[in-house]
Point group: C2
Chain length 224, copies 2
């Protein structure tokens, strides 16, 4: 059976390019695995969505009779037994996967949630004071500095390109989009190296095409 | 070779009981695996620490010739092939492990960092305004509500007790310590169920004993 990736039916402009179905599209392109896309309504959330994903987030994948959520777990499941999660590098790749999705992302999102509150308070709540945001940025930059040191002599986090790089680059792209990665040239080069891979390019094109198609469908429905 | 768990040599009162070596001690007690403890100076951080853990965090474990950091990866490595990460439940347990260390912990730490800033600004920076903290709490409570629904009919997240429960309970204990779990009786019962396990009790006792011994050593050094 073809694997199914679930994302939202439509979203406003600001999260496009960063919705987490992209991580799953990326690994599937790296692996050359075909997939179909299904959707959940973004608002209001559906019962079907809650039944498949308790936090009503995306992505969710269906792979035969397995339904799976959490992009980290999906990367591990799909990467299993492939060059993206080699058995001989399992512990090291997993270590960097958690470094991306826990250590680095915790500190990135603590700051990014504050920055987004300045722009999109209806989603992210009232904006914190300048000195609060500055402290969160400083904490994040300490993590980025350490990460930069760790990959200074390496192309990828754990030997060859792996699922850990997909996760880490997706976290760093958020920092880059907020124009906060420039002080870390090694990380900028790392992100460029990863996002110039054909698999990323294809995944991103399909991801953006999904939202364009959703806009068109919505426009058609409005004028119908 | 006996496994080694690295933690800090000494820490002030406030993080004791929550330092992440506890997660590793807990799984090792569940598995009945003996271990020794080694330490890094908390301040200033040592070169050895940076060499073994790029972010200079704890825990780190040494298991024969493998050095591993990130508590999520350590739980997977140690759980592998045991009842705490059964092969037949691998995807499901991993999914809940990432739910704990990404979805839930991201939202918990966003709030907890703000609350701790009110109490320990020298570590956590200036405290955000009341309405900022309130919004972060609301976001966290939405996640806790969803988690509570998800385990309402279950003793544990994925069948029997697993590494996902160790991670999730360790995240929830932080919420409980800030007196913010009371509105979620099913989660309180879940945490109680987990922390009444003999393996947790032993791990916590040894964890606290480590800090007491560090206090004693420090006091002896001061008066020497």
């Amino acid at each position: 059976m073809t694997l199914t990736v679930f994302t939202f039916d439509w979203l406003p402009e600001f999260p496009r390019g960063f919705v987490r179905d992209l991580r799953v599209r990326w690994i599937l392109e790296e692996l050359g695995r075909p997939y179909r896309v299904d959707t959940f309504p973004a608002h209001p959330k559906s019962q079907r969505h809650h039944d498949m994903q308790p936090f009503a987030q995306v992505p969710v994948v269906q792979d035969d009779d397995l339904t799976l959520f959490e992009s980290g777990a999906i990367l591990m499941h799909l990467g299993e037994g492939t060059a993206l999660l080699p058995v001989t590098k399992r512990a090291e790749v997993t270590q960097w996967l958690f470094a991306a999705l826990n250590t680095v992302e915790l500190s990135v999102m603590h700051w990014v949630n504050m920055v987004l509150a300045e722009r999109v308070p209806e989603f992210f709540g009232p904006a914190p004071a300048v000195e609060v945001v500055a402290h969160a940025r400083q904490e994040m930059e300490a993590k980025l500095e350490a990460l930069q040191d760790a990959i200074a002599d390496k192309a990828w986090l754990a030997g060859n390109f792996s699922i850990a790089d997909i996760a880490m680059v997706e976290v760093l792209r958020v920092v880059e989009a907020e124009d906060a990665l420039r002080g870390f040239p090694i990380l900028v080069a790392y992100v460029d190296r990863a996002t110039s891979r054909p698999a990323f390019q294809k995944a991103m094109a399909d991801h953006m095409q999904h939202w364009h198609a959703a806009d068109t469908a919505q426009a058609a429905a409005t004028t119908a």
